[in-house]
Each structure stands twice: as structure tokens, then as C-alpha cells.
């Protein structure tokens, strides 16, 4: 063969050619799969929102029919966007609420507290009762945790929650997305009779953690994740509680 494959020029040429070929292949693949990935993210969000309100599995809502089912329960035209003081943000359309990436806003250190958006979804459950769904985001032990909290028409009783996480420890912190933990939040109240926000406390020893109380039994071995959930819920619900208090009075 005429080409000396150990020469510098061949080495450079080979490296450049390989990188270009691989770059083109990967770019095409990424572009080609983009619609699928975006749909997956959207559908997952819809499922998460709905599962705060009801048992999606029982209702037969899956990834396939989530987009249709979501519309029948949640009317995005009714959704609101609040600011960090619990007032409705001016100049913001409620129907953009779904597209707000609160995880990104939470991570963004350059974003001031006033610029952060707090979406509030308004839904109707199967028996057409009004429900408020609040997205929350925080951090666990290893990475982000997030979830949705569904409130009753009285604007203070928790109907259900759905938590999820990215990389919490399997079997320990990762259990926050399991039904046994999420059920502990049900029927507790986020505010007192006057509408003042009542803090949640995630406790260790199950001391006085009665269902419907604002003391929630944490996960054994998942202390930091449990505390992360507590911080996330308290920080976010406080803002919404103010909004509900103003709305009622």
C-alpha cells in the first residue's frame, strides 16, 4: 500500500474523518428522535400531574392515552401563574403554565426570587369537583426531587401527592415515589381556619404521625431525602397558601 498509515498526516486525516462521520451520524439521530423525546417528557409531566389527583393506573391512563385524558381533567386555560409573594403574575397567560420549567428556574442561581414563576393548575376530578394542583421542586441527597400536590376545593386539604426523584438511593430515599409514603400526606391540611400556612414536619420516629396531621413519618434510611421533601413542600406551599388566603378573604 502506498499510504503510510503511521505517518502524522494519515493519523490526523483519519482522526478528523472519523470525528466528522460520527458527528454527522449522532446529530442526525438526535434530530430524528427529538419529537419522540419531547413527547415523552410532556406525557410524563401530564401523568405526574394527574397522579397527584387520582390513581392513574386504576383509571387506565397510560402513556398512550395520557394526552387525551389530561385534557378532560385539566383545563389549561384556567391555570394561573403566581409570583413568589402569592399574587397572580401580570402579563402572563395561564395556559403557558404547563410549559414553565420550574426545575430549571429552581436551579438557576441568577434568577431573582421575583422573576420565578409558580404555576397553579386547576382541574376537575371524575365527579367534576374542583381541584388545585401545585408543582413543587427541591433537592434530595444526590439530585433534584420534584412532585405535584393536589388540594381539595377548600384550598387546604391535600387530596394526594405525587413525588419523584432523579437519583435518590434505591430502597431508601428513592422510596419517596412509592405509594406508602405519598399516602401519608393525604387528608392533611396546609393551612388553619384563618388560612395561615401550617408547616409540615417530616419526623423520624413516627411520633404522633397520625394520618391527616402535619407531621409526616419519614423514610428510614432516607433522612436527607425526607428532609428535602419537607423543605420543598414547606417553601412552595407557603406561597400558594398566601394566594389562597387572599382569594378567600
Amino acid at each position: 500500500m502506498a499510504i503510510n498509515k503511521e505517518s502524522n498526516s494519515f493519523t490526523f486525516g483519519f482522526a478528523i474523518a472519523l470525528v466528522v462521520v460520527i458527528g454527522v451520524v449522532l446529530a442526525l439521530l438526535s434530530e430524528g428522535l427529538k419529537p419522540y423525546k419531547e413527547k415523552n417528557v410532556r406525557v410524563k409531566k401530564q401523568l405526574d400531574i394527574l397522579s397527584a389527583m387520582m390513581d392513574v393506573e386504576k383509571e387506565g391512563i397510560t402513556r398512550e392515552n395520557a394526552e387525551v385524558e389530561f385534557k378532560t381533567y385539566v383545563n389549561l386555560d384556567d391555570a394561573l401563574i403566581l409570583d413568589s409573594k402569592g399574587n397572580v403574575k401580570k402579563g402572563k397567560e395561564g395556559k403557558d403554565a404547563f410549559d414553565i420549567d420550574i426545575k430549571k428556574e429552581y436551579r438557576d442561581k441568577t434568577l431573582s426570587e421575583e422573576d420565578k414563576n409558580y404555576p397553579l393548575f386547576i382541574a376537575k376530578d371524575k365527579s367534576k369537583k374542583k381541584r388545585y394542583i401545585i408543582p413543587v421542586v427541591g433537592k434530595g441527597l444526590w439530585g433534584p426531587i420534584w412532585g405535584y400536590i393536589c388540594l381539595d376545593d377548600d384550598m387546604k386539604t391535600i387530596i394526594g401527592v405525587s413525588f419523584d426523584h432523579k437519583t435518590e438511593t434505591p430502597g431508601l430515599g428513592a422510596e419517596i415515589n412509592k405509594a406508602f409514603f405519598m399516602d401519608r400526606w393525604k387528608s392533611s391540611k396546609i393551612s388553619d381556619e384563618q388560612g395561615n400556612f401550617m408547616k409540615y414536619e417530616v419526623v423520624k420516629d413516627n411520633s404522633g404521625a397520625v394520618k391527616g396531621d402535619s407531621k409526616i413519618d419519614g423514610i428510614t434510611g432516607g433522612t436527607i431525602t425526607s428532609k428535602g421533601v419537607e423543605e420543598m413542600v414547606n417553601r412552595t406551599l407557603k406561597i400558594y397558601a398566601t394566594y389562597f388566603q387572599n382569594k378567600k378573604s
Partner: protein
Amino acid sequence: MSTEKGSEPLFSKKNKKLITDPLTDNNPVTIQVLGICSALAITVQVNQAIVMSLSVLFVIIMGNLIVSLLRNMIPSRIRIIVQLLVVASLVIIVDQVLAAFLPDLSAKLSVFVGLIITNCIIMGRLEAFAMGNKPWPSILDGLGNGLGYGAILIIVAVFRELFGSGTLMGYSIFGNSLPGEESGLYTLGYQNNNLMILPPMALIITGIIIWVQRTRNKALIEEH
């Protein structure tokens, strides 16, 4: 280097050995003790172990094939970088395809798919085998090693999921373990072993497999 000319049957004795060896006496995990990192990380559930095995299988076969096809062109000074590039691209392909079509599993495997790049078995096979062999034996070598890796992964995962969570592929085996609504074995006081879920247990189970294997075949025990 395999230099035999002419038509060797596709599944000659030598080629068959390429598949069967890594499954038994030359298993990449238990004998060469490679790829342990992922064996620890994603053997909590059988489902994850299966998808991880399939992903590695795809990457190792395709990687072996591509490197084997290029083996006479790759400049030896940058061969490791070229191998790494090939592996990394294949892993990105797997990651993207999983994210697009199996989003739930993709979320669970999360970072571990990306870590296939660092799986020593793959780089090891590319460097030790594919660089010096024709495409077909390379594919078989990849298949054998991928299956050998997957077999151990799944065996470990079966133990960990069964005794750690009381399920297999997500289905309850021993009954319902939820406090207050126990059924099956749990009513008798049986408890899931939380230690099985933690990474050290994967190491211990892998160690037991290595022990059993070497006890059965003394030839595998190193002299020194």
C-alpha cells in the same frame, strides 16, 4: 492474528468456543473480574439488569464489528482514542433510542447507560480481540462476552430483587409487604432484607459466584 485464508465454516469449533468460553471458564465478570462497577449498580431489579445487558450486548457487538472492519486502517498511535470514540458513539445511540422509545426504563437506568463507555469489558475486547481479528469472529466474541456479562448481571439481580424487594421483574413473589396489609409470607413475620438492595451485597453475591465457579473447576484458581 487469524490469518487462515478461504472458507472457514461460520460456526466452526473455534468460532463456537468464542461464544461459549466467556459464558463459562473465561467469564469477563467472574474470571477476568471486569465490568464489576455496573454489576454493582444496576442489579437491584431484574428488569434493569436485562436492559443493561442488552445495551452492553449491542455496544460490544457493534463496537467489535466496527473496530474489526477498521483494524487495518486505524493508526496504532491513536487506536485507543478511536476505540473510545466508537464505543462512546454507540452508547449515545443506545441512550437516545432508550430515551425515545422506553422512557420509563431510561429514567431508571439514567446515568448507568452513559457509564457503559467506561465498562472495561468493552474496551478490553476491542483492544484484545477486534483489533487483531476478522469481523465475523469479532462479532461472535462480542456476543459471547456480552452474554457472559449479562448472565452474571441477571443472576445477581435475581438474588437481589427476590430477597431485597420480594419481587421478580416487578411481580410480587412472597406476597404483599406493605405494613398493615401484609399477605403471603409476610404474615408469618418474613421481612425483606434491605441489605440486598445496597451495593455491597452485589459484590458479595458476585464473590460467591466466583467462589462456586472456582471450587467446581480447580483449573481456574491462580497459582500465586
